[in-house]
C-alpha cells in the first residue's frame, strides 16, 4: 500500500525549537519554558524515543511535531513542509501523514461508537472512501493490528474490549489514513504489563513492514529500549543526553539519566 511513496518518505527535522507558555489571568506575565532549544532528526523508518519525567517537555514536543501547537521559535519540517506554519487545507493534508497514539485508550475512543465506525472515520475523512471501501479497509486494518476474527471485533463497543485491545483499535485508527509518521505518547503506560509486549511488538512490526517512522514518547526506559534505535533524554525542556538507545542506557553520562534508570524498580536479579 505504501509502495508508491516508499522511495521518497520524508524526514522529520526539528531545529532549535523553543516553546514558551505565558500565563493568563491572575498570574499574568509568568512564563513557562516547556521546550528549550531542542533539535533532532527522524529519518524515514527510524524510531526515536523522547524520554523524561513529567514536566520534561516530551509531550509538548509531540504537540509541536504534530502541529497541535506552534513553536515560539525554531522550525519543524517534515520533508519540504514547514509544519510550524501549517494551516487550513495543508494542515489537514499533513494530519493524513502524521498520526498520534495517546496514552489513554479508555479516553481516546468514543464509548458510543463501534470499532468499525471509529476505524472507518479517517478512511472517509482523509481517503474519501465510500462505505464499502471503508468497510473492507476496516477489516484489513483490524487484521494488521491482530484483532481477529475481524468481523467480531468490528461490531464491538469499547467497553467490550480489554485495554490492550482498545489500544490496538487506536493504532488501527492511526494507521487508517496510511500515515508516514506515528507519534506515540506513552502508548503502553496504562496497560497491564502482560499486554505491553504485544503492543510494542506491533509497533515494531509496523515499522519494519510498512517503513513507518516512529516518535516514541515515554518515561519508561524499558519500553524505549525495546522499540527505539535512538533516544533523547529530556529534563526541564532541554536535551541532556542523546544517542544510540542501548549505548545511552548502558553508559549514561548525565546524572538525570542515571536518576531515571535508578528509579526503575525492575524485578530482575
Amino acid at each position: 500500500m505504501s509502495d508508491h511513496r516508499s522511495a521518497q518518505m520524508p524526514e522529520l527535522r526539528v531545529d532549535g525549537v523553543t516553546k514558551v507558555y505565558a500565563a493568563r489571568g491572575r498570574t499574568r506575565g509568568a512564563k513557562t519554558i516547556a521546550v528549550d532549544d531542542v533539535s533532532f532528526t527522524l529519518e524515514p523508518g527510524a524510531a526515536v524515543g523522547l524520554v523524561g519525567a513529567s514536566g520534561s517537555g516530551k509531550s509538548t514536543l509531540a504537540k509541536l511535531v504534530t502541529a497541535s501547537e506552534r513553536p515560539t521559535s525554531g522550525t519543524v519540517t517534515f520533508g519540504d513542509v514547514r509544519v510550524d506554519r501549517l494551516r487550513g487545507r495543508a494542515l489537514r493534508a499533513f494530519h493524513g501523514n502524521v498520526q498520534m497514539v495517546f496514552q489513554d485508550p479508555y479516553g481516546a475512543l468514543n464509548p458510543l461508537h463501534t470499532v468499525a465506525y471509529t476505524v472507518a472515520r479517517p478512511c472517509h475523512n482523509y481517503l474519501g472512501m465510500n462505505a464499502r471501501q471503508a468497510r473492507n479497509r476496516v477489516h484489513e486494518l483490524l487484521d494488521i493490528v491482530g484483532l481477529t476474527p475481524t468481523e467480531q471485533y468490528a461490531a464491538k463497543l469499547p467497553h467490550q474490549l480489554s485495554g490492550g485491545q482498545r489500544q490496538r483499535v487506536v493504532i488501527a485508527r492511526a494507521l487508517a489514513c496510511d500515515p508516514q509518521l506515528i507519534v506515540a505518547d506513552e502508548p503502553v503506560s496504562m496497560l497491564d504489563v502482560s499486554l505491553r509486549a504485544g503492543v510494542l511488538r506491533l509497533l515494531e512490526k509496523l515499522r519494519q513492514d510498512r517503513g513507518l517512522s516512529l516518535l516514541y514518547i515515554t518515561h519508561d526506559l524499558l519500553s524505549a529500549r525495546v522499540v527505539t534505535d535512538r533516544i533523547l533524554v529530556l529534563n526541564k525542556g532541554t536535551v541532556v543526553e542523546r544517542g544510540d538507545t542501548k549505548q545511552v542506557l548502558q553508559h549514561p553520562q548525565d546524572d538525570y539519566t542515571v536518576a531515571l534508570l535508578d528509579a526503575v524498580a525492575a524485578p530482575h536479579p
Binding site: 480489554s162 485495554g163 524499558l222 542501548k246 531515571l260 535508578d262 525492575a266 524485578p267 530482575h268 536479579p269
Partner: protein, 336 residues
C-alpha cells in the same frame, strides 16, 4: 518476623461478588484466606481485574455497592469485621485501619486546606476528653508532616497548591493521623512520575519501619512491590495463586503465572532485552469456573489443570496453587 509475632489480621474464605444492575453477578474474590502478622509489609500483585483492590477493600470493610462481601470471616485484632455494622464498625476502624488511595488528587477536597482535612478526621474520631482545639490539631499536623517529609507550611495549603507527590504525601499523613495498626495502600504511586514514585515509596518504607504498622501494598507493578515488601501475594482471577517471601520471588520455581509476570519485565541496561507478554486474557468471572483459571493461558497445563482447581500447597519458601509446580501433590489435590 518470627513465628511468634502475633497475628493482626486473619481472613478466612473471603468471597466478594459484584451485583451490577441488570448484569450477571461477578465473583471477583473467590474463597481467599490469608493471615497477616503484626508489622508485616505484604504486597498484592496481579493484572487489572484480578481482584486485588477488591480484596483490599473487603479486608477493611470498605466495599461499596454493587460489591458485596458474600462470605468469610475477617478477624482483625480479635474482632470479626465481617459481622460488624454501623457505629461498631466505625469504632473498629478508628482503632486501627487506614486506607491510602491511588490518586491523592481525588482523595482531598479542593476547597479545604490540609489543616482542615486533618481537623475533620481528628474531630470525627475524637475520644472522650481528647484535645481537639485548633492549636492541638496544628501541633499534631506539624508532627505528622515531618513524618512524611513535608515542611510545616504545607498545613495551610490547599490541594491545588501542591504537586502530585506532595498531595500523595498529604494523603499518607492523614492516614497516619489516628495511629492505625493496618494501612492499606492501593496503588499509592501509580499516578506519579517515576522519580517522585521512588521517593514516595522510600518514605512509605521508612514510616513502616519506624512506626511498625502492618501494611498491605496493592500494586500492578511487581518491581515496586518486590522492593518495598517482605511478602508477596500474587492474585489471578480472584484467587491467591502464590504466597512467597519477596526475597524468594526471583529464584527457584514459581507458579507459572508468577513466572509469566516476571517475564514481562527486563533490565533496560541488559545486552539483550527480550520482553515477554502473557497471551490470552483472564477468565470472565461472571461465569462458573472449572479447574485452574490460569490453565488456558498456561504453557505447562496438563489434563488435571482443566478439571481440578488446585489449592495452595507448599512451594519453595511459600505456597503456590499449581498442580504442575507442586510436584507430588497432584494425588492429594485431586481428592480436595
Amino acid at each position: 518476623m518470627t513465628d511468634r509475632t502475633p497475628t493482626l489480621l486473619d481472613a478466612q474464605h473471603v468471597d466478594v461478588t459484584y451485583h451490577p444492575a441488570g448484569g450477571s453477578p461477578v465473583h471477583a474474590v473467590r474463597d481467599v484466606s490469608l493471615s497477616l502478622r503484626q508489622g508485616e509489609f505484604v504486597g498484592i500483585v496481579g493484572e487489572s481485574g484480578c481482584g486485588k483492590s477488591t480484596l483490599g477493600f473487603a479486608l477493611t470493610r470498605l466495599l461499596q455497592p454493587p460489591a458485596r462481601l458474600t462470605g468469610g470471616r475477617i478477624l482483625f485484632d480479635g474482632t470479626d469485621l465481617a459481622s460488624l455494622d454501623g457505629e461498631a464498625l466505625r469504632a473498629q476502624r478508628r482503632n486501627g485501619i487506614a486506607l491510602v488511595l491511588q490518586s491523592g488528587m481525588n482523595a482531598l477536597s479542593p476547597v479545604r486546606s490540609v489543616e482542615h482535612h486533618l481537623r475533620d478526621i481528628v474531630r470525627a474520631h475524637a475520644r472522650d476528653g481528647e484535645d481537639t482545639s485548633k492549636a492541638a490539631v496544628r501541633r499534631r499536623g506539624v508532627e505528622l508532616l515531618d513524618k512524611v517529609r513535608l515542611p510545616a507550611d504545607v498545613l495551610g495549603k490547599f490541594p491545588h497548591e501542591l504537586s502530585g507527590g506532595m498531595r500523595q504525601r498529604v494523603s499518607i499523613m492523614l492516614a497516619l493521623s489516628l495511629d492505625p495498626k493496618l494501612i492499606v495502600f492501593d496503588e499509592p504511586t501509580t499516578a506519579l512520575d517515576v522519580i517522585v514514585q521512588k521517593a514516595v515509596m522510600a518514605t512509605i518504607q521508612d514510616l513502616q519501619r519506624e512506626s511498625g504498622f502492618t501494611a498491605i501494598l496493592i500494586s500492578h507493578d511487581l518491581g515496586v512491590v518486590l522492593e518495598a515488601t517482605n511478602r508477596v501475594l500474587v492474585m489471578y482471577a480472584g484467587r491467591i495463586v502464590e504466597d512467597q517471601p519477596s526475597g524468594q520471588l526471583l529464584r527457584g520455581d514459581h507458579h507459572p503465572y508468577t513466572e509469566a509476570l516476571l517475564g514481562c519485565y527486563a533490565d533496560p541496561r541488559a545486552d539483550e532485552v527480550v520482553l515477554g507478554g502473557i497471551p490470552g486474557s483472564p477468565p470472565d468471572l461472571s461465569l462458573p469456573q472449572q479447574g485452574c483459571t490460569f490453565a488456558p493461558r498456561c504453557t505447562l497445563a496438563e489434563d488435571i489443570c482443566l478439571e481440578v482447581d488446585p489449592p495452595l500447597t507448599p512451594l519453595g519458601a511459600g505456597e503456590a496453587a499449581c498442580h504442575v509446580r507442586a510436584a507430588g501433590m497432584t494425588e492429594e489435590a485431586s481428592v480436595v
